[in-house]
Amino acid sequence: MNVVVVGCGRVGARLANTLDQSGHSVSIVDLQPSAFRRLSQDFSGQTVIGTGIDEDVLKAAGIEEADAFIAVTNGDNTNIMAAQIAQVVFNVPHVTARIYDPVREDTYRRMGINTICPTTTIASLIMSTIFST
C-alpha cells in the first residue's frame, strides 16, 4: 500500500516505521525537519518538509497515488483540514484524522470523516482497567 502520514510526532513516526518495516511504501510529512529524527535508522520511506494542508506539499508526498492517508499532527484543525483535502480533492480511499477534542471529533465523524479521538479512547481504557478487577 502507498501511505501518506502527516505529522512526525510519536504516533506518526511509529506508524511510519511499522508500515515501512512491513513492506508498505510510506511518505511522511512534517513542518520541522528535526521531527524526522524519530524515524528509525533504516526507514526507507520518503520524508517531506512542509505543511500537510498545502496541496503542493501533499502532491510532493505522493498523495495522488496514495491508498491511505493519516493525519496525526498535534493540531486538531490541521488534521481536520488535511483529511478533508485528502478526501475531497484527492479522493484517497482510506482517510483517518486524529482529533483530540471529543465534540469536534463527533462533528466530523458525522460529516463522514474517519476519526480517532484519543481523549475518549484513553479515558474509556483507563475506566476499564479500574473496573475490570
Binding site: I53, D54, E55, D56, N77, I80, M81, V89, V103, R104
Partner: protein, 219 residues
C-alpha cells in the same frame, strides 16, 4: 443582525470596530487573554476569551442565534474548522472565512463555507489594474455563477476597434456593459462604435473568457 467575529488580529480588530460603529450587534472571540483585556477597555463587554473552534466557546457566544460567523484568524485550518463547526453544530446561515493561501479558496467553497476573502488575490487584482501594459484585467469573479467581469483596453490593431457593438461576434454568454472613453462612461447600445483607446468592461462566463480575450486583445 448578530455577528460573531473570531480572531482578534488586525483584521478582526478593525472589522469589529467598524461593525460596532455601523450599529451592528457584534461579539469578538479571541484566544489571547491580554488582547481580550485591551479590546474590552476599548469596546466594552463584547469581547470574549476562548477558542472559536470549540463548540463550548461558540455556544457561550450564542452562535445559535448568530446570523453570520466571520473567521479571520491568521491560520486557514482554524478558519475552516470555526466555520464548519458554526454551520454543523449551530446551523449558522452565513459563514465567512479569511483565506491566506489563495489555493484554499476553492477548497473552502467545496467544503461548505459561504464566502471566502483572500487578501493575496485582492492585492494581486489591485496591482493588475494599476499596471499600464496589462490589456486584460479581472475586476470581479462570482465563482458560484462562473461569472466574470473583466476590463480590456482596445488597441488600434484590435479586431473590434471601429466596430459597432451589434456587429461584434462575441463568444457565447458575453456582453459589453460599459465603455470608458477619455475618462467618460458610456453605456453602449447596439449602435455604439468601439474606438481604439476605449476601455471595455464586459461580463462573461468563465469558459468564454479566453475567446473574449482573443477577440479584444488579439494576443
Amino acid at each position: 443582525m448578530y455577528l460573531i467575529v473570531v480572531g482578534g488580529g488586525k483584521v478582526g480588530y478593525y472589522l469589529t470596530k467598524t461593525l460596532v460603529n455601523e450599529g451592528y450587534e457584534v461579539l469578538l472571540i479571541e484566544k489571547n487573554q491580554s488582547k481580550v483585556d485591551t479590546y474590552t477597555e476599548r469596546f466594552g463587554a463584547i469581547v470574549m476569551n476562548g477558542d472559536g473552534a470549540e463548540a463550548a466557546t461558540l455556544a457561550a457566544a450564542g452562535a445559535g442565534r448568530a446570523d453570520v460567523v466571520v473567521a479571520v484568524t491568521g491560520d486557514d485550518e482554524d478558519n475552516l474548522v470555526i466555520c464548519q463547526m458554526a454551520k454543523q453544530r449551530f446551523h449558522v446561515k452565513r459563514t465567512i472565512a479569511r483565506v491566506n493561501n489563495p489555493k484554499n479558496e476553492e477548497l473552502f467553497r467545496k467544503l461548505g463555507i459561504d464566502v471566502t476573502v483572500n487578501h493575496t488575490n485582492v492585492i494581486l487584482s489591485l496591482i493588475e489594474q494599476q499596471i499600464p501594459d496589462r490589456h486584460f484585467v479581472h475586476l470581479l469573479a462570482l465563482k458560484h455563477a462562473e461569472l466574470e467581469v473583466v476590463e480590456a483596453s482596445v488597441s488600434p490593431d484590435s479586431p473590434i476597434a471601429g466596430q459597432a457593438v451589434n456587429d461584434i461576434r462575441f463568444p457565447p454568454e458575453t456582453n459589453i456593459i460599459a465603455l470608458l472613453r477619455h475618462g467618460e462612461l458610456i453605456i453602449p447600445s447596439g449602435q455604439t462604435r468601439v474606438e481604439a483607446g476605449d476601455d471595455v468592461i464586459a461580463v462573461t462566463r468563465l469558459r468564454s473568457e479566453a475567446a473574449l480575450r482573443q477577440l479584444i486583445v488579439n494576443e
